[in-house]
């Protein structure tokens, strides 16, 4: 009897293979889901569906909930003013009680953005399949997990069956060789990559980020990169686990009890030598400068020392039309230096950039400075734990002394479902992930940047090249 031939596999392929419950030619595979995260905005209809069909939650212990999208970031001892928001938050609480699901409620010290609390509590682990009714679930891929966003019908499917029906995506390797230059961050890396592959370049793929520059990133920075995979069209983005991953997880609340045994398992996950991807693209970290988006999708991005493009800079007719529409919405004519753009608002927060390292980076820039008198700037920590840690380090004082507003945890002005929003025409430097029209408030103009670039812009009142910051 001969042994089956050894076939080198990618990280993605290994996780996929480990989770196949049932596969049939031409059909969607039934894939087992290890962790299902739930929030208030995309779950109510799913729970209602279960009730109507008389179905229970199959594995409530594999489901974790928190309220984040809709929550006020002001004083939590006060009642929620927006009654419709309140109803949605109350509905989640009641559903979790009824179906026996762990819920980090508004006043829980561990409440926060679902993609911040999953990793910090140790729910997120290498090799897992993780889903949530939110497209930025790709964040968890930073741990070498297969993590992606799903719709509400799929939320209901996972609640009822602990599985999901999936066609296997193709794999795309984005390799970044070399080291990032000083003051260039993970946010700049991912914005640059999206600029290169465009906003739909990853459609149909699961991305694996590889290369020396990626390996050198901290866990927080890896999360920033994977978080924005969806902005390049990819539902999932992942980074192979390594010592950085294991050290981040060691000692966290919900990691496996026999942690060392788990690590030995996780060490089997990285892509094997000789495994191939459906597509591979290679970039050089030294080519990446601090990035600023100028348009209305995250792929419309340039280095901070460049000028805003003109429609004529694009070759294809659809892209020219998109660029013209974006310039019009953004109140730009094209050709102006990015550093000339004057700002009204600065937002430091979101599942992309509201972890402790992000706040440290921003505080280091803001320290000893004052926010420009025509800028309204706010910092919204990603979770209760991040807030507590930042306060223990005195970062809140740095921000407050500089004139930043220091808030409670939540999604806040990343999507402006709560009262934090832009007014029409306001121009904002934001550490979030989407610069779509109206995303931060109808008529609001969003420029995506790194936390350090956002802090410097708040002080200067316009974009500045962080490499020249003193």
């Amino acid at each position: 009897m001969s042994e089956p031939a050894y076939r080198p596999r990618t990280l993605f392929q290994k996780i996929w293979d480990n989770h196949v419950v049932h596969a049939e030619e031409g059909r969607q595979t039934i894939l087992y889901i290890d962790l299902h995260m739930v929030h208030e905005v995309t779950s109510a209809q799913a729970f209602e569906g279960l009730r109507l069909a008389g179905r229970p939650v199959r594995r409530s212990e594999k489901t974790v909930a928190t309220a984040d999208h809709n929550v006020p970031t002001t004083d939590r001892s006060l009642p929620i003013v927006d009654q419709i928001s309140k109803q949605q938050i109350d509905t989640l609480r009641n559903n979790c009680q009824e179906f026996g699901i762990t819920h980090y409620d508004l006043n829980d010290p561990n409440q926060g953005i679902v993609h911040v609390i999953g990793p910090e509590l140790g729910y997120t682990q290498p090799g897992m399949t993780i889903v949530c009714g939110d497209s930025h679930t790709s964040t968890h891929g930073a741990f070498g997990a297969l993590a992606f966003g799903i719709g509400t019908s799929e939320v209901e499917h996972v609640l009822a069956t602990q599985t999901l029906l999936q066609f296997k995506p193709k794999t795309l390797e984005l390799r970044v060789d070399g080291q990032l230059r000083p003051h260039v961050t993970a946010k700049d890396m991912i914005l640059y990559l999206i600029g290169q592959i465009t906003t739909d370049g990853g459609t149909g793929y699961c991305v694996e980020y590889t290369g020396e520059a990626v390996r050198s990133l901290s866990m927080e920075n890896r999360m920033t990169v994977c978080n924005m995979s969806i902005e390049g069209g990819a539902r999932a983005g992942m980074i192979a686990p390594d010592e950085t991953t294991y050290e981040y997880l060691r000692g966290r609340k919900y990691v496996p009890q026999d942690f060392d045994a788990a690590v030995e398992q996780w060490k089997q996950l990285p892509t094997d030598e000789g495994a191939t991807y459906d597509k591979s693209l290679v970039f050089n970290a030294a080519d990446i400068a601090p990035q600023v988006t100028w348009g209305t999708n995250p792929g419309l991005v340039v280095p901070v020392d460049a000028n805003v493009p003109k429609p004529s800079d694009f070759s294809d007719a659809t892209e020219q039309k998109t660029a013209a529409g974006a310039l019009d919405y953004m109140g730009l004519s094209g050709g102006e230096p990015i550093t000339d753009l004057k700002l009204d608002r600065v937002f430091i927060g979101s599942c992309t950039n509201a972890r402790i390292e992000d706040l440290r980076e921003a505080a280091a820039v803001a320290k000893g400075h004052k926010v420009s008198d025509h800028v309204d700037a706010m910092v919204v920590p990603g979770s209760g734990q991040v807030k507590q840690q930042a306060e223990a380090e005195g970062l809140d004082h740095v921000f407050k002394e500089a004139g930043f507003d220091w808030r409670e945890a939540g999604c806040s002005m990343c999507l402006a479902m709560n009262p934090d929003k832009l007014s029409p025409g306001e121009r904002c430097a934001s550490t979030s992930n989407r610069n779509f029209e109206g995303r931060q408030g109808k008529g609001g103009r969003t420029h995506l940047v790194s936390p350090a670039m956002a802090a410097a812009a708040a002080v200067a009142g316009h974009f500045v090249d962080i490499r020249e910051w003193k």
Binding site: V21, H22, G26, R27, Q28, I30, Y32, V41, T42, A44, Q45, E48, R55, H69, N70, I84, S85, Q87, Q88, T91, G133, D134, S135, T137, G149, I150, G151, T152, S153, E154, H157, A160, T161, Q162, T163, L165, F167, T199, D200, T203, G204, I230, G233, R235, N297, T318, E319, K321, T322, L415, A416, M417, P424, R434, F436, E437, G438, R439, K442, G443
Partner: protein, 195 residues
Amino acid sequence: MKAFTTHTGLVVAMDRANVDTDQIIPKQFLKRIERTGFGEFLFWDWAKLDDGSENPEFELNKPAASGASVLIARRNFGCGSSREHAPWALEDYGFRVVIAPSFADIFYNNCFKNGMLPIKLTEEQVEDLFQRAASHDGYQLTADLEKCELSDVHGLSLPFDVQEFRRHCLLNGLDDIGLTLEHEDKISAYEAAHA
């Protein structure tokens, strides 16, 4: 789930690429806890002027678009959020078919869960449909999922691709959860092996 077999309806052309889910249904309307009633908020920021009145320039507000149920748009339709409120809003408004050169993955998947057919064509084929819509008043298309064919009364007959299993489920309005639970024994076996 709602079934889809064949549909003939008025076409509205949206000459825009990267139409994102924040445009399809802005976040202030995501606070409802029902699946229905989102249609009146469809494309809100484009459909309404600052004073809340209807924007007469917006494609869907033009008299010729009244009653449209087939939407054609440019590449990467439905990018952004996973919110199923986007297909809910399109469906509630009256759309049954969306045609574009490409769709964002999550949006595409969400359409099938709501009895709506997203059809991917080439850029050239979509351009041809834009021209047909512009040159015929009251232009209608028929999407036949049995035959996987798009047609009009002016001689168009265009095959389209859709994964066989998705087609089967949509034609029969099959409930995904019910289908999966037919394999409940396999889920239990998986759980026992991975406990």
